[in-house]
Symmetry: C2
Subunit: 391 residues, 2 copies
C-alpha cells in the first residue's frame, strides 16, 4: 500500500441552510480543491456521501449531479455512498483504500445533507429508517430511545446512580459547547451550563434535550491523494496512517448496549495498521450524537477502561488543555452540528486543521496524531481513521 495523504479540506458552516445538498457540497468541494491547488480536471473520482437527499429534496443519484455541477471530467466516475451517520467516513475510507492500492492518485470525497427543514417528529421518524425495519422500527424505538436504553444499561452495569450519570453526561454537552464556541463553522457557538442541560426538557429518559445533537444542514469535502502528490499541493499534508470499518446490529443482536462491538473491531483494525495505541492519540473527533454516546465511544476506542469514562468530561480530562486525548475539539455532533451524511468528512476536516496547527483558539497544542470515529445506525456501522501530521 502507498502512503495516503489529505491535501485539502473544507466544510460549510453547519446549521440551517437554504442551499440544496448539491450546492452545499459544491461550496465545500471548490474550497478543498482551491486549498489543494487543484482544478476539477485533476480529480479522478468523486465519492459522495448522502443519506436523505431523496426524502428531503427529491434528489437521488446525487453523485452524478454533483459531478456535473463541479465540472469533473466525464471519465472520472461519481459514486454515492450511504451507511447512515457513518456515510462520509465510509466514502473517505474507500477513497483512501483506492489511492493506497494504486487505483487512483486523486479522489474528491466527502458528504452533504439537508435535514434541518424537517420538524422533529418527521426527522426522528426518517432517521429511524437506519434501524432495522423488521426488528427495531416496528417496536417504535427511535435513536434517542436506543441511546437512552444504553445510558440506563450503563448506569445499571457499573452501579452508577442515574442522577450522577445525568450530571456527567451534562458535562459532556457543556464541554462540547465550550469547544464549539471557538469554532466559526459550528451550529451553536455559545457556551451552556450543566444546570441548563439538566433543566432542559426530557427527550427520552435519562436524556435531556441538551444531551442530544441538533438537526443540521451542511457539507464537507476532502481531497485524498498520494504522499508524493500531496507534497506538491501543500506543505502541510496530513497522512491517513490507519483505517478500520466493521458492521453489526441491529440492537437486538447487541444485548450489552454499553459495548458497541463493531467499534472495538474497527478501532483495532485502525490501531494495528497505524502501529499506534490509544495513548498515542492527541485528539479525537467521535460520534457524540447523544452525550452517552461520547462516554461509550471514549471507552470503546480505548482511551478509558470500560465503566471508567463516564466522569472524564466532569473531571476536565477530555477538554481543551487536558494532557489526555482532547475529545471533540470542534464541538462534536452535539454543538458543531450533525448533517448526517456530511458528519464524517467534517470530523476529518477538524482533525486535519488541528494537525496543521490552524485551529485558532481551540488548537490542541502539539497535536500530531488524531482519531476519527463515526457510528452509523443502531450500532450497524463503525468507521475509524487515524491521521498524522507531516513531520
Amino acid at each position: 500500500m502507498r502512503e495516503v495523504a489529505i491535501a485539502g479540506v473544507a466544510m460549510t458552516r453547519f446549521g440551517v441552510s437554504e442551499k440544496t445538498c448539491i450546492e452545499m457540497f459544491c461550496e465545500a468541494a471548490c474550497l478543498a480543491l482551491e486549498e489543494s491547488k487543484l482544478e476539477p480536471k485533476n480529480i479522478e473520482a468523486l465519492f459522495l456521501g448522502n443519506c436523505l437527499g431523496d426524502f428531503e429534496e427529491g434528489q437521488a443519484h446525487m453523485a452524478a449531479h454533483v459531478h456535473t455541477a463541479i465540472g469533473l471530467p466525464m471519465g472520472s466516475p461519481a459514486l454515492r455512498f450511504e451507511n447512515a451517520c457513518a456515510t462520509a467516513t465510509v466514502a473517505i475510507r474507500q477513497a483512501a483504500l483506492l489511492v493506497g492500492s494504486g487505483v487512483y492518485d486523486v479522489v474528491l470525497a466527502g458528504g452533504t445533507e439537508r435535514v434541518a427543514a424537517m420538524d422533529t417528529p418527521l426527522a426522528t421518524r426518517t432517521f429511524a429508517m437506519a434501524s432495522h425495519s423488521g426488528y427495531s422500527a416496528p417496536t417504535g424505538i427511535t435513536f434517542p430511545g436506543v441511546f437512552a436504553m444504553a445510558a440506563h444499561m450503563y448506569a445499571d452495569k457499573y452501579k452508577i446512580d442515574i442522577r450522577e450519570l445525568q450530571e456527567c453526561m451534562a458535562h459532556v454537552s457543556v464541554k462540547n459547547h465550550f469547544h464549539a464556541a471557538m469554532n466559526p463553522k459550528a451550529q451553536f457557538q455559545k457556551e451552556i451550563s450543566v444546570q441548563k442541560v439538566l433543566d432542559s426538557f426530557m427527550v427520552a429518559d435519562p436524556l435531556h434535550f441538551l444531551d442530544c445533537c441538533p438537526f443540521s444542514d451542511g457539507a464537507s469535502a476532502v481531497v485524498i491523494t498520494t504522499k508524493q502528490k500531496a507534497l506538491q499541493m501543500t506543505d502541510k499534508p496530513v497522512f491517513i496512517i490507519g483505517t478500520g470499518q466493521a458492521a453489526g446490529g441491529p440492537v437486538i443482536n447487541n444485548p450489552d448496549m454499553t459495548r458497541i462491538k463493531p467499534r472495538e473491531v474497527a478501532a483495532a483494525q485502525a490501531y494495528k495498521q497505524a502501529g499506534v495505541t490509544p495513548f498515542d492519540i492527541d485528539l479525537c473527533e467521535l460520534h457524540d450524537c447523544f452525550t452517552i454516546a461520547e462516554i461509550l465511544a471514549i471507552e470503546g476506542l480505548g482511551f478509558y477502561e470500560f465503566g471508567k469514562g463516564y466522569d472524564a468530561a466532569k473531571n476536565g480530562e477530555t477538554r481543551l488543555g487536558s494532557k489526555k486525548a482532547v475529545i471533540n475539539p470542534s464541538g462534536g455532533l452535539k454543538a458543531k452540528g450533525h448533517p448526517i451524511g456530511a458528519t464524517g468528512a467534517a470530523q476529518v476536516t477538524e482533525i486535519v486543521e488541528q494537525l496543521r496547527g490552524l485551529s485558532g483558539k481551540r488548537q490542541v497544542k502539539g497535536a500530531k496524531t488524531g482519531f476519527v470515529d463515526t457510528l452509523g445506525g443502531e450500532f450497524g456501522t463503525v468507521c475509524n481513521l487515524i491521521l498524522r501530521s507531516h513531520p
Copy 2:
C-alpha cells in the same frame, strides 16, 4: 492489478415478491456462496446496491442489516451504493477494483430492490428523483419522457419515419420477450408480437406500453475474487477483463440525446483495459429500459455505427443464433425485469452463466466474451464490464 474472477452468481426470480429487500438479497447471496463453496466467514466485504429501500420499506442503512442477516464477520465491512439504475454494476466494479488492487481477496457484491408494490404514478415519480431535482424534475419530465424525446431526436437526426422507428423498436421488445421465454428467472416468460406492441397503449409518444420495461422486485449476488482463489472454488471461473465508469448529465447538458456520451467514455475505458474491440463481443446484456434505449446502446457500445442500429432487431441480427453479438439473451430489462438496484448484478449473472455454457435453451453457442452495460438516471452514470470465460 491482479486478475479478477467471478466464482459464483445467483439471482431471485424477478417479478413481484412479498419478501423484503434484505430477504431477497439473502436468498441470492446464499446461493452465490454455495456455488462458490464459501461460508459467510470467508467474505471480506459486502458491497450492496439498493436505490429505494428507504422509500419502499422504510429501510435505509441496508448493507449493515444484510451483513447481519447473512452472518458475515463483524470485521468485514458492509457498504451501500446508489447510482440509480447503474447501482449494482457500480458496486461490482468497486469490488473488482479492490480485489484487483490487492485490498481484498473475496467480496460479495450485488443489489436488491422492491418496487413492484408501487402503482405506476408513484413509481414513475419516485424513479424521477434520479433526474436533476433543480433542472429536470421541475419540468415534469419522467424517464419515459426522456427516452421518448431521444426516440424523436433519433428519427429526426437520421431521417427515419417515426412509424418505421416504432416498428423497429417493437422488434426489440419482441426479441427480448423471445429470449425471456427461455429464462426461468424472467418476469415475463412469454413471447409477444410486433402488432401487440404497436397496439398497446401510448405511454409517451412514440413509446408504447410494451416498449417500456416493467416494475420489478428482485435481487442478485456475485462473488468476486482473485483468479487463484476462484480456481479453488469452481472449475468455471469467469474473468473480469475490463471495466469502465463515467458520469454526466443532466439531459440539459446533453443536447444530442441520440449519443449518451458517458457510455462512449466508459465503454472505451473497458475495451482498452480488456484489449478487445466490439467485434470480439459474443453477447451483451445492456440497458433496455425502453426499446429505444437498446438501439442507442448497441450504437454507443460500438456494435453498430451511429444511426445504423435501429433495424438490427428487425433484421434478426441481435437475436439468439445471430453471428453478430447477441443482445440481451436474458430477456433484458424489458422482459427479464428491472428491479433498479439489482439490475446490474443480474446482467452479470446472465453473462457468467452464458460464458459457462449453462444457459440451456437460450445458450449463445461458443460464447467467450461478454459485455455488461448499465445506465443510471438521465444519462448520469454508465458502468461497463467485460467478462471472459475460462479458457
